[in-house]
Amino acid sequence: MSATLSPEVASFLESGISVLVGTRDPRLVPEAMRAVGARVEAGGAELTVFLPAATAARTVANLEDNGRIAVCFSRPIDHRSLQVKGRVLSIRDGDAADRAVIDRYLEALAGTWQEIGVPPTVVRRVTRWPAHAIRLCIEEVFVQTPGPGAGAPLAGEGVR
């Protein structure tokens, strides 16, 4: 299974919206954590997600165990949401280029969260560094906007 994101979907995912990571341990006990940004790669076939080392120890342990990952991207103001499911290709420590992406992401997130009443000073305090860079291949993409049809595979122009 594989899916490739369209440029429009890729830019939505990179637009400073919430990035949420779901994993599970060997006993299938799930874990939820917020990421600090993502970058679409390999022409839309892969994704790198950034997770702060301080808060993501359990998530990273799960990914090292089984590599199964779900990433939900959601825009707070209208709940437009997509969920990407995939398998981890690599886990490494973030580098200087990643750090620039993370800093830009949190600055953009401060703007989108301000729209729903969260002060930008709070988003700027989110622990971000050091961070892990989780690279994954995209297997499936689902529409996650709440309502009927939530959970349906993204079709049409969004993926190839």
């Binding site: 949420l20 990571v21 779901g22 994993t23 599970r24 299938l28 006990v29 799930p30 874990e31 939820a32 954590m33 917020r34 702060p52 301080a54 808060t55 089984n66 199964r68 990952i69 779900a70 990433v71 939900c72 959601s74 707070p76 103001i77 209208d78 709940h79 437009r80 949401s81 969920q83 499911k85 729903i116 009443g117 969260v118 002060p119 000073t121 709070v122 305090r125 989110v126 622990t127 689902f142 996650q144 906007t145 709440p146 309502g147 009927p148 049809g149 939530a150 959970g151």
Partner: protein
């Protein structure tokens, strides 16, 4: 230190959406937002299910769920490990959660489309604070900011002032305007309105407001719709926090319903009278005995603005307003004293306003723009007609009450509230025509324009 579930109470008000991860039997995780986390007891929470989705399918296969919640004041994050216990589709818990969803659904025109399927109860197996989710703030100042401490004496004096204004008001308009002004000036309820029920179906009409300008006057809310309509129907106070978040959630679903070709099932969205970006609303019924006199609604852009104190305080003020409204309904005697000249036309030739009355729905338009309908519309039509035909400029409440064509009930007729509404609508849409109280039980028609009257059967 592990916090208790009760200490996480602010996280469950829906201000910041919570996340949930579940896992299918084949090991595929799933992560999504949750619309509602409801505190059930010291060791249980309930999650709302509006649609059958992947989360529910996963839970049927594997009962574990991880939920991440955020405190809307401190912005600390907490992780809850849950294990599915049972689902409820009736009973008090289900009713409480369904009421909240019903309010959101009807506000977004989705009554019946977006409703609670089940309240899923989970055991909370672990609670932990996400350590280092936030870096320490520079100054160590609280992020949310606590309200200024208010001493009991200050509050009591403020309450006394409001009570005085209500007790001494000489008419309904003064009573409501005075009470809302005092609530704003003394207690910071800067966006408030009072709506009164109208026959025959008991829909509510905004008659007085504070903080919105005059635009909301005359706005109508049907029984059972939105927070205000639901308060009127159930005669219970409702406080919604994080209202904006849930409204956005409801609108997102509405958008998906429309995209999925089910547009025909949607009712037109009710414009919420008030702040377009309200984050919290508190509305309460104004009751005298068994009788609903109206609804008092306050709102704020701050999702945590209203708490238990506001409920109790506004409950007292609401009772006073309700009794005040009942008092102004007592039939007035015409006051022969304090004669004051009024009425008539001044320089009527320069401007011309054209009024059109539609008989089928008792609607009055002025120069093609909707003005007013029902009883206030019929009153305006009668007054303007008598002026054109007989040159009259002064009218009594008594003659309006005695005119069967206006359809006022024999007792407790709300005539005063209808005249207030009519006066305010004229101020907004046609300031050249004014109804000015001259003395108790009498008013004068003042015109700064020429008036044309047209009657049509239908629009």
């Amino acid at each position: 230190m592990t916090p208790t579930l009760a200490e996480l109470h602010p996280c469950f008000q829906g201000v910041i959406p919570s996340l949930i991860t579940t896992c299918a039997r084949d090991g595929t995780p799933n992560i999504t937002y949750l619309s509602q986390v409801h505190l059930v007891g010291p060791t249980q929470v309930a999650l709302s299910q509006q649609f059958f989705n992947k989360t529910q399918r996963n839970i049927a296969e594997n009962p574990w769920a991880a939920v991440l919640v955020m405190d809307p004041v401190s912005f600390e994050a907490y992780r809850l490990l849950l294990r599915f216990h049972h689902a409820e589709t009736s009973g008090p818990l289900f009713e409480r959660m369904a009421l909240r969803i019903q309010v959101i659904a009807s506000h977004t025109g989705m009554a019946g489309v977006f409703k609670l399927r089940s309240a899923d109860v989970y055991d909370v197996v672990e609670i932990e604070r996400v350590v280092d989710f936030l870096r320490p703030s520079g100054a160590g100042a609280p992020v949310g900011g606590a309200p200024l401490p208010a001493g009991p004496l200050t509050e009591l004096r403020g309450l006394q002032t409001i009570s005085d204004r209500i007790a001494r008001a000489c008419d309904l308009e003064g009573l409501l305007a005075g009470a809302l002004a005092a609530l704003d000036e003394l207690f910071g309820f800067s966006h408030a309105m009072v709506l009164l029920p109208e026959e025959p179906d008991g829909h509510l009409v905004a008659i007085s407001s504070r903080g919105y300008g005059d635009a909301g006057i005359g706005a109508e809310v049907r029984r059972g719709e939105g927070i205000i309509g639901t308060v009127a129907e159930r005669r219970r106070m409702i406080r919604m926090a994080g209202f904006g978040a849930e409204l956005r959630y409801g609108r997102a679903i509405r958008g998906r319903v429309a995209e999925c070709g089910e547009r025909g099932t949607l009712a037109p969205e009710i414009p919420l009278p008030g702040l377009p970006d309200a984050q919290a609303q508190l509305a309460l019924p104004l009751l005298v005995g068994e009788r609903l006199m109206g609804v008092l609604a306050v709102e704020s852009r701050d999702p945590l603005h209203f708490d238990d104190w506001d409920e109790a305080f506004l409950g007292i003020v609401g009772n006073q307003i309700a009794m005040g409204i009942a008092r102004t309904r007592a039939p007035e005697d015409e006051d022969a004293s304090a004669e004051r000249p009024g009425g008539g036309t001044r320089g009527g030739g320069s401007v011309r306003r054209s009024f059109c009355y539609y008989r089928n729905d008792d609607c009055v338009f002025v120069d093609g723009e909707y003005l007013i309908r029902n009883v206030p519309g019929k009153i305006l039509w009668k007054v303007l007609g008598l002026h054109l035909r007989e040159g009259r400029t002064e009218f009594t409440n008594r003659e309006l009450r005695l005119d069967p064509a206006l359809g006022l009930p024999a007792v407790k007729d709300n005539l005063e509230s209808r005249l207030i509404l009519l006066r305010k609508r004229l101020q907004q849409k046609c300031p050249e025509v004014r109804l000015v109280p001259v003395r108790r039980g009498r008013f004068a028609l003042e015109l700064d324009c020429a008036v044309e009257l047209i009657e049509k059967e239908t629009g």
